[in-house]
Amino acid sequence: MKKTDALIIGAGPTGLFTAHQLKLIGLDCEIVDNLDKIGGQCIELYPDKPIYDIPAVPECTGEELTNNLINQLKPFDIKFHLNERVEEVNKDGDNWVVKTSSGAKFQTPNVIIAGGVGSFEPRKFPLKECEKFENTSVMYSIRDKSIFEGKIVTIFGGGDSALDWAVELSKNSIVNLVHRREEFRGAQATVDTVHKLVNDGKISLFTKYQISSITGEKQLQSIDIKNDNNETKTLKTDYILGFFGLIMQLGPIANWGLNINKKTIEVDTEKFETNQKGIYAVGDICNYPGKLKLILSGFHEGALAARACFRLAKPNEKYRFEFTTSSKTIKDRLGVKGD
């Protein structure tokens, strides 16, 4: 079991800056995130979109903001646990014991939820019957492409993941590509490659179609696809792959005994603490009168939550407010020279 002064759930901008604040005041922390990369919504939803309302930064993209925050953390040694979702948070005396999807366990007096709108999960097919075949013949990501060799694979989607896999799998499989409209949003070069493969008969393309039913008892046999004019086609297929991007799900957070209202967690505005002592919520996921879902608000909330953590992490010490411009202790922590 790993011990830390504070565990941050979520590696988006708010989680990152909260880590910075904790380290500045001399507390340890580790960060868990369900995504495979650092940056949260900024990196997953809008890496290329410019943001104009970060104080003192006239314009930056989601990716640039993330990189700047990572750079700001460089003086510190912070452990990231990516690709891990926090499953359980249980009380253990004065501490919380946090368990992640990989089985890792943390013991900490402070848990800071900086989880945005929850964790990112793949969007699934609308048909309930698809659940029965999930991970066997209905998939939303690919771990081992060799299983598709010589098989019929039907891919749904119009973005880069769908197109890249259609191109890749067309080498050794029979590939159907189904998309709800004629335009694709993937990179133009990949779109061109797909059209060439369609012309060469390597990919069968069905545009303006969506899945309407799925047939098979133990094994997937075929699917029906339907267009806006209610014309149906039946496609024999061994696998179906859906690439519809990610959606945010509150997930296990809902089970931790917190006051949750419309997917947000109620907190006070002094410590950003929830109804559970030592569990805080900051950034988009927290809610209080006047809450604004702005990145700058998340920074403020994280700064205050970090100070609140001090009390429980070092109960015998008194927290003293200091400025980074003048504090020798803080400069030492940052590894910069004093005056």
Binding site: L45, V117, R123, R180, Q210, F244, G245, M248
Partner: protein
């Protein structure tokens, strides 16, 4: 101000006065109409405020901007009359607009 009618997936009809300048998404969220999640808060980045616009209204509301159709690719059961409600800004001209909310947002 416009009267906007939201039909939830259980066929319940909610007619609300929504102020000009708000989006159809905000009208729903602020009035606790279920079924519109709006996870990203109106940034056209999540497709969880997806609605079907009543046929007689679809061509009367301002058309989609770049990017909305891309996001609709990810919506739950998109149709020809699908829109993201965060991209429809309420004006007097929208008085009487009717939108249906899908069974799920994802």
């Amino acid at each position: 101000m416009a009267k906007i009618t939201y039909i939830t997936h259980d066929n319940k009809i909610h007619t609300i006065d929504v102020q000009n300048g708000l989006t159809v998404m905000e009208g729903a969220v602020q009035n606790d109409i279920p079924g519109i999640d709006a996870d990203c808060g109106g940034g056209m980045a999540c497709a969880t405020c997806h609605v079907y616009v009543n046929d007689e209204w679809f061509d009367r509301i301002p058309t989609k901007e770049d990017g909305e159709e891309d996001m609709l690719d990810m919506a739950f059961e998109p149709k020809k009359n699908s829109r993201l409600s965060c991209q429809i800004i309420v004006t007097d001209e929208l008085d009487g607009l009717t939108v249906s909310i899908p069974t799920k947002q994802g």
